[in-house]
Symmetry: C2
Subunit: 141 residues, 2 copies
């Protein structure tokens, strides 16, 4: 049960971006330097964020990325989904009637993992990027 760096980095980078979003586009190079994340890796991550319309790109010198929505409207769920960091507690296909390993029924614990998944997704649905930025400002005051 662990979080991967991709998800961690995606959120970290977006919080950074949201903080500096006011004036100009923010370049990945800056984010890379400030947050200590490999530039090449960031590019992969932002390609996905762009496809899901969470950020917009501005090409050329002085270019970078800007948020494509209000920070309040970007939930952790959206970010995670964009970078394919999904919460996966069950092994079976959820929709199907079959169980874990293609068994005819759901296993003894299916229900439990399903509950767990909801529990976690609940957390992700509540938190917005805006919340994170604010939490952060408070902390540093």
């Amino acid at each position: 049960m662990k979080l991967t760096s991709k998800g961690r980095y995606a959120v970290m980078a977006l919080v950074d971006l949201a903080k500096f979003n006011n004036i100009n586009p923010v370049s990945l190079r800056d984010i890379s330097l400030r947050q200590g994340i490999s530039l090449d890796y960031l590019e992969q991550i932002f390609a996905k964020l762009r496809k899901k319309e969470i950020v917009q790109s501005v090409r050329g010198t002085q270019g970078g990325y800007i948020l494509n929505k209000k920070a309040k409207e970007i939930k952790l769920t959206n970010i995670f989904e964009a970078v394919d960091e999904k919460v996966k507690t069950v092994q079976c296909k959820k929709e199907s009637k079959k169980g874990c390993n293609g068994k005819p029924v759901k296993c003894l614990t299916h229900n439990l993992w399903d509950e767990l998944e909801s529990h976690i997704n609940n957390f992700f649905n509540k938190k917005s990027l805006d919340d994170l930025v604010k939490d952060n400002e408070e902390k540093s005051v």
Copy 2:
């Protein structure tokens, strides 16, 4: 963010065991057949459960495993801990003042992941093996 089979199997096997715990020890072979888990793998898992005193072993013919505590007193947390399925959302050492990659301060998102970790552990602390068995009985009625 995903659950490994080791954790899944450990819980599955223990629910099975708890259901049949009344009379005789339950053999891994039976659990293996009923739950479709490799016997060899189960042995690894039960070795750990035994070390953490969640189950007791009975050797010889008609042997097997029995619970070492009341099902009500075995929480998911205990099971997960026993098989080294830990919830790990942060990358830094929690106790240390340092951040993710040995940076001098905690990163922008440290707080968030810490909250998430508590949120999940909360779930695991509440659920006991007994709850699971009962949920299951209800379902099958």
